[in-house]
Symmetry: C2
Subunit: 630 residues, 2 copies
């Protein structure tokens, strides 16, 4: 965490200095806004938190509820989401209060007495160390609270406007604020409708999205829903794995997904209620909780469950569905105009709760559109950037639906249909990277280069998220995860991995450093807004092959020691050294001739290229960003 460089910070450094709109943000929803986000679920809140880092963008987030979410909905937090929380400044706090999954247990009928269940296997949850962050379970409300805090503590001081419901939306195409939205008050005191005009609208309004309907998207997928009885309960039981995540199948075909929850006592059970007939008309929702508990007891026999308190429960009905598009541009319009309305999260894709993906994928949708809108609205990038949202996220959603179909079909199979009793556990182990959130791989575009030079940094696959690795921060000799400095501040990172020479000696890195700092063609010169610090847009870091004792900061080129803030202080923290025995060059397969790795504001690797390819680097950024106004 860096602070004090704008002057001494005595209180919580997580509260960043207000700027732009944040200096004087009106309490009431204004008539005109740059971005109107509809819905304060995970997708909407992360979009708001990201845009709050662009304080010149006037962003508002409306929510039909009168206040914060208190209880229920999703609870599975994949490691990719925890990485994301780290970028938004609250990973360590949410980890401290969440439940941490280390194993998943599979239970099935005892072949010797199928009326009893036995444990069939307990695979480790992340045997390969796919992330340095854990896999967590925590109430969705807490995730939203932390994002709300991040949005409020960011320079833009964004906070949800509760008690407003979107009732209509039209893209007029006219003027600077071409989207016209009608909103109604949902709290008793205020009545009537208002019209808000926005440059852009983000529909983060959940599975029954009104924004989706307004832009005429169609949902494809299963016609029928699947139903689960979901309960967050306080209970006593002799089921020995009650505090382990479990998939439990009984001989009768019943099945439970058991999720231990934060705090040591609470747990959630998804009791499968099967496919819902098309003419059911939500009758399944009348299933009494006593019936769900009775079913659960039946499934876990010979163990029993004594429920003391039902903290939350729901009959959760959902199908595998995906929209035909993620924005308001019709297929035959694509290329002729850029989108004005986007949909994110459950508004675009729904699927079973079995793989615990809903909240996680929704957050990545929201982050993706958030930084892009920030870039366009503060003049860093052309509107064309906004087409990449749909391009990137639609594929992810389709993969998710496909994965979830396979997984939930497998989990719903009766034991005799499965054949191999290990089939479910094996699938779980083999596909772990997907639900952990690390299979996303964006295709080449204006913000993702092709992988012609991937072999220079094999551990940082282009289009995938930058997987952090350890190095020594030279200035203070701390061994750190270099990825953890990549906070959600809207900046791009350029990691310059050095060739073999020491700082102070002639080298490809030294040449590159001179070029990036001084050449009029360099991306810093081309894209940094006039008057801003050189590191305001592109955060450039050097990683040397030497150990820290062999590096004198005085010999390191100025490109890696940017001057920041009103006191023109030198930032010494962007220079890293290899850790003996844990050398990042080996761990991530970096060429000993050096390499440049470009990472987008949302952690995805955008480019890998040699230190010598200066023109190519400049060209990449010319394609991604606008020339700075001077």
């Amino acid at each position: 965490m860096q602070f004090h460089h704008h002057g001494y910070v005595s209180t919580d450094p997580r509260v960043q200095p207000a700027a732009g709109i944040g200096l004087d943000r009106p309490a009431d929803l204004p008539d005109e806004v740059d971005v109107l986000i509809v819905g304060s679920g995970p997708a909407g809140m992360i979009t708001a938190a990201q845009l709050a880092q662009f304080p010149d963008v006037n962003v508002r987030i409306i929510e039909r509820r009168p206040g914060r979410l208190a209880i229920g909905q999703a609870d599975g937090i994949q490691a990719r989401s925890v990485e994301t929380f780290q970028a938004f400044g609250f990973a360590e706090r949410i980890i401290a209060e969440a439940y941490r999954i280390t194993e998943m247990a599979f239970w099935g009928p005892d072949p010797e007495d199928p009326s009893r269940i036995i444990r069939t296997s307990s695979p480790e949850d992340d045997p390969t160390g796919i992330s340095e962050f854990p896999h967590l379970i925590v109430n969705q409300a807490r995730v939203l609270d932390y994002f709300a805090e991040a949005a409020l503590n960011a320079p833009g001081r964004v906070t949800p406007d509760y008690g407003y419901e979107l009732t209509g939306l039209t893209v007029t195409g006219e003027g600077e604020h071409p989207v016209e939205v009608t909103v109604a008050h949902t709290d008793g005191e205020r009545t009537g409708e208002r019209v808000i005009r926005a440059k852009y609208v983000v529909g983060a309004d959940g599975a029954r999205s009104g924004v989706r309907q307004a832009i005429g998207c169609t949902l494809a997928g299963q016609s029928a829903n699947h139903a689960w009885g979901v309960m967050d309960v306080l209970a006593n039981t002799d089921f020995p794995d009650i505090r382990t995540k479990c998939a439990i199948q009984s001989a009768s075909g019943g099945n439970i997904l058991l999720i231990p929850r934060e705090g040591g006592y609470l747990f959630r059970m998804y009791v499968d209620l099967g496919e819902v007939a098309e003419d059911d008309d939500h009758k399944v929702r009348q299933t009494p909780m006593e019936e769900v508990i009775r079913k659960a007891n039946e499934i876990i026999a010979p163990y029993t469950l004594d429920v003391k308190d039902i903290a939350w429960s729901s009959i959760y009905e959902v199908g595998h569905r995906i929209t035909d598009r993620f924005d308001d541009v019709l297929p035959d319009e694509r290329g002729t105009r850029t989108p004005r309305v986007f949909i994110t999260g459950d508004a675009c894709h729904t699927h079973s709760a079995k793989a615990g993906q809903g909240m996680n994928v929704s957050m990545q949708d929201g982050w993706n559109i958030g930084w892009k809108l920030g870039h366009v609205l503060d003049g860093r990038a052309d509107e064309a950037l906004l087409d990449t949202y749909s391009l990137e996220r639609q594929v992810v959603a389709q993969n998710l639906i496909d994965f979830d179909k396979e997984w939930s079909t497998l989990m719903a199979k009766r034991p005799e249909e499965l054949g191999d009793p290990q089939a479910v556990a094996d699938f779980y182990t083999q596909t772990m990277e997907f639900p952990a959130g690390f299979m996303t791989e964006y295709a080449p575009s204006m913000i993702v280069a092709d992988s012609a030079q991937q072999e220079l940094a094999t551990g940082f696959p282009i289009g995938k998220r930058f997987k952090s690795a350890r190095a020594t921060k030279v200035a203070d000799t701390n061994d750190v995860q270099i990825g953890h400095f990549h906070t959600a501040d809207g900046r791009w990172r350029i990691y310059a991995f050095a060739d073999a020479a020491k700082p102070g000696e002639a080298s490809a890195l030294a040449d590159w450093a001179d070029w990036i700092a001084d050449d009029p063609e360099s991306p810093i010169a081309a894209h940094t807004p006039a008057g801003a610090d050189t590191s305001a847009l592109l955060d450039i870091r050097a990683i040397y092959q030497q150990v820290h004792d062999d590096i004198d900061l005085n010999d390191v080129p100025d490109a890696f020691k940017p001057v920041v803030g009103p006191f023109e202080l030198v930032n010494l923290e962007n220079v890293y050294a290899a850790i003996p025995g844990d050398d990042i060059f080996d761990v991530r397969g970096i060429s000993r001739d050096g390499a440049v790795v470009v990472v987008r504001p949302d952690h995805y690797v955008a480019h890998v290229l040699p230190l010598s390819a200066k023109a190519e680097l400049a060209a990449f950024f010319r394609g991604a960003l606008r020339p700075a106004a001077r």
Copy 2:
């Protein structure tokens, strides 16, 4: 973190349910209180935060300042303090914002050109892994903020009463509230004095303590002060170790202690201004900061320092001093009455800033008296317990003064006096355990047993702080630090290390478990207040020699699965297993026949004894605690 067992917690689980006084705590300082703490520095705030865990105790903390401390004072946080922060629930947050010391660099005159300094060595800060927590540097104000939050979020909802100054104190010895304190308002609006009657007063009012004077303590020690120019600055420099903790000595005899600070830019310099003549009359305080900066530049030549902003500065004058007693009981009264007034922190002991101890030792003082007052006032222990405060902490203070004298004398020596240029670095490395806070070892008393059976658990020395170690939490298969569940909740911990048998088999542990749960002589039966959960006072945990896969929770005795809260839920989280390759029995030298380790509320090991020594365990607790009222 455990929660939800008293009902669903939707918001921050760090906010514990209010209870007792906390349900309806008056905003204004009442006329009668159980405990009046004077001063909201580190010593006072930790006392308040600890007593806030005893919500039936009416505790108030007055502070002369109008509000929170904003800037300045100490910044060194030893690992023992970070352990303490963990117990109060904020270690992970303060670590995330603090500077972390991994090395300390020593600089001295270059023998070839003594006008220039060179680095003579850079020893690692904690080469032996003395704690799992780091050594930090952070503004004292942040430490106080976190304790303020902990006190406010605790059941007692304690918060400082700012703007009150103690002006007089008399121990009347009469009635239930035998200490009479006069306080004056320090804010302009309210004037006049008030009298507050207290059962006990804790003087945490700093080096010029009025409480100390009121109880007639005398200060012994150096007559003369030593002075430093202290500055928290934002500056640019070519001194290459500017972000490493450094001791810098120049040939001229000048010396600097350099402390990098949180946030990446700020650092502190202690520039030695030497002994202050007795007749100086604080003239040294008029030393202009320009003069201090000039001196600093002279010392670090050939490097230079370009100060851009002085965030805080002070001429810090202090001597090695210690009071003759830590409470109001005169030597010849000792044993005839128990103390009513205590002094803590700088009120008892002052010393140089060189070893960075002031804030740390003060916090341990405050924690020590805090839990003891809580025990006495809520009826858990006899008043005799209060005599142990002075007994325990006076020795620590004396050791601190002795250590600090040696250290600061060494650091102030001219290079030619030192002989060996490594002498300072060597002393630093050899004595590291002291400044890290782990040399405290309490002598036998009513709350510390003798070490007759120490060999059963050699890694948990009686009288020293319980050094955490790793084990698997069986219920959720998480590898954890068992010490991290020892929060500052005022409870004692009893760790029952098992003999070799598995749960379910006959064993010494199973016998012990039956006894502790069911025998009328057991400490649970003897001391747990009527109507409270069995784990309300003594938190009992089992550590098995097996790995977690070999333990079925259904076979574990009920003593280790206490029933808690209004729903009578079973707590499954007190059962641990050995981690293969990191076996706590080996790591901490535990007998394979098992052992019982008793740990006090403030983390100090109180007793080590065999599983068979039931009567001895009961007798120990009879000496420490009162029989519960029935």
